[in-house]
């Protein structure tokens, strides 16, 4: 740790690097927020992906080639061209076919639950890991403590006896010259 030249040389570049990193991240976010307005066709396609084809199992109108899906696609484009907003178009199809026409649940009312539960589960899981790590860390045992592979020192003599009898039995079955089955070479000699 206390090597002098290191202490003398390192800090400045690292700090500069950190600064650069922050600057870079900020400019990156700023730059990317400024860019990208979708073309009309791109808007239409992202709407296609939000609408299920009502007559096909589990396909959006973007994926399906059913006649109804084709009609709905052209309807989406017509409505976009006449200046309707994304929300209005989605509402139109919901009025017509019911809420199940949307390929993702709306984030209102009870359906908010579908969006909220996964993040809660993730945070809960990470919290559990944190708690488990703390608990596992607390019952630190001295390394000298002898442990059998089974974690039950009191059972060891019995387990050993079982293993020996098991081996003896296998050996008796297979005859001494064959030395047992694969995985039992331990019984040889």
């Amino acid at each position: 740790m206390g090597v002098k030249p290191m202490l003398h040389l390192r800090p400045v570049p690292i700090r500069a690097r950190g600064l650069l990193l922050i600057l870079f991240a900020v400019s990156l976010v700023a730059y990317s927020c400024a860019a990208d307005t979708p073309t009309p066709e791109e808007r239409a396609q992202s709407l296609d992906r939000l609408l299920m084809c009502p007559v096909c199992p589990a396909e959006t109108i973007d994926q399906s080639q059913a006649d109804l899906a084709v009609q709905m696609r052209s309807l989406v484009r017509e409505k976009l061209q006449s200046g309707e907003s994304e929300e209005e178009i989605l509402d139109f199809f919901v009025d017509r076919y019911g809420k199940s026409v949307l390929s993702q649940p709306p984030s209102t009312g009870f359906n908010l639950v579908v969006w909220v539960v996964p993040p809660i589960a993730l945070v809960g899981g990470l919290a559990l890991v944190w708690l488990a790590a703390r608990q596992l860390g607390q019952k630190r045992q001295p390394h000298s403590q002898k442990e059998t592979p089974e974690g039950r020192p009191d059972l060891e003599p019995y387990l050993k006896q079982i293993d020996e009898e098991f081996l003896a039995f296998e050996r008796a079955r297979n005859g001494p010259e064959r030395g047992g089955e694969p995985g039992l070479q331990g019984g040889k000699g």
Partner: protein
Amino acid sequence: MSELGTLSLLFALVLAVYSGVGSALGARKGLLELTTSARYATYLIPLPLGIAVLALVGAFVSRDFQIEYVAKNSSLAMAKGYAWVAFYAGNEGSILFLTVVLSIVAAIAIALAPRLSRASLAYTTAVLMSVLAFFLFILVLLANPFETSAVAPADGRGMNPLLTHPGMFIHPPMLMTGLITVTVPFAFAMGALLAGRTGDDWVDTGRTWALISWGILGTGLLLGGWWAYTILGWGGFWAWDPVENAGLMPWLVLTAFIHSIMVQKRRGMFRVWNIALINVAFTSALLGMFINRGGPTPSVHSFAQSILGWVFLAFMAVTALFSFGLMVHRMPALKNSQSLESKLSRETAFLVNNVLFLAMAFVIIWGQLFPILSDMVTGVSITVGEPFYNRVNGPLLLAVIFLMGIGPMVPWRHASLAQLRKALLLPIIVALGLDVTLLALGVTKVFPLMAFGLCAMVGTGILREWTRGTRARHRKGESYPLAFGKLVAANRPRYGGYVVHLAVVMMALAIIGTYFFDTQRDVVLQPGEQVTVGGYQITYIDAQQIQHPDHLQSVATIVVERDGKSLGTYSPWQDFYPSFSLRPARAAIRSTPIEDLYIIPNDFFQDGSVGFRILINPLVMWMWIAGPVLVLGTVIALWPQRKRALIREAIPQVLRPTYAPAVE
């Protein structure tokens, strides 16, 4: 034929029940003759089941439409080679397939069980045979593929035309084999618990079989993606369809398991947790099979609705109760042999990995079940589709890649921040360098920039580990190739894992590329007309219609050029099967590592014009390259260590020095 098949199934059932009961009883009462005889019975079971398979495939080849299953899933027009595909194209046949595979892997697993897991082998056998007997009961009572009808129809209904694709010869078998093989590690874990061997005896065998199952399932999923990409005609490879999800869910849980089992292997920790994970993996595999057989949500390729699904569900509930009950019962004995020394350690990294993968699996099951829940609460049915999964699991995938870059650099036991900084400096610099380059090239979306950066970080980290290790060995006088080979051979789980990580990076590239940067155009072209999409000039020449016995095939001929240079002539086609009212298509795909040009004809009009969907899918080829890399990595990780290494493994952990690979 049908009598032979049914008799074979009955014979297999009797053997499985005998072996299951014999093993359990023999182990309980200490009757070694009985357990041995029961074990030999398990070796026999694949025989009658193999005969049953031959009988069924034979019935397809000889077009024995007296058998209902054959009549339902084939026709005279079907090419005879597809008899193999038709065999598992329906419910009954696919259950027979699952059963045969289970009987074979069970026999292999039992025969090759290493000495350590021998003490509990009788119980393991009993568990395996119980599952096998369940499948055989279903085959005999509820879904006998050899059921005959009174009058044989002149022709069958034919196989689902979506299945007439070369991918179908291996994709469903791989998927089903992967799903059913999860039974083996589960059975070893349960067997150990039943026998009271609560230590680490089952860990090596459990890990091996979990990895085998994971690798096969992963390959099956990738092949499924390839099939969807070439035949479904919307240009994507993954749609979060219930059936795809059914395979992905257990795969994600297994991914968590094969990581956390390493902690038990090396440090004797997480004993309860690993049991819980393998229980969840097996339960979710059963759930996957349940969803495939008439589950709760609609899907493009689920089998017919039937009572079978609910039988599976009941079996799943019983298994879950049994396995978790047993775990809780043995809990007092499942103590960790060592404690966690630091929160910044490989052990904790694996725990976080587990949380992320379980979260992704949870999102899937949550998305499947929520429509039912919503229907019950609000009375309005809703859809939980692609956008939901992408928006929720996308960020989780990002977190996984991030962890993949850091986790392997964190030493076991405890790490210092200084070590981490040293290990991560170069990968982070490379990642930022890539992002700057991409920005300069005009990529401005935040999520992809983060994702590409993280991919670069993971890749650099892995390559640096390889070059360092190889150089260190080279300095000791080994040639570079030899040094690299020996490096990998010395710690196969670790370096195999790195290869798999590279495969995951490749998959991530393909996912980001297609999700964020795809271009899609729907156009209608007259013969001779040209359209330019993404720098490609696409000229539609003409169309032809070919009448096949069971379907009408419409083929479009197109010429693709770029910058005045011809890239060749392509003939994508669309079929129409009137008896199924299905239109499977085959896209024209020009693949390069940078991007795919993907053209699919959707509409053939009377006047000779054709409606095409043209897509540019960037980086999608890496998805398919990832497949063989994934398999390679899995095989390396699986390859048995030599004796010397095994002995080293057996040296008590406490005697070994702290393992800190990232630091010299």
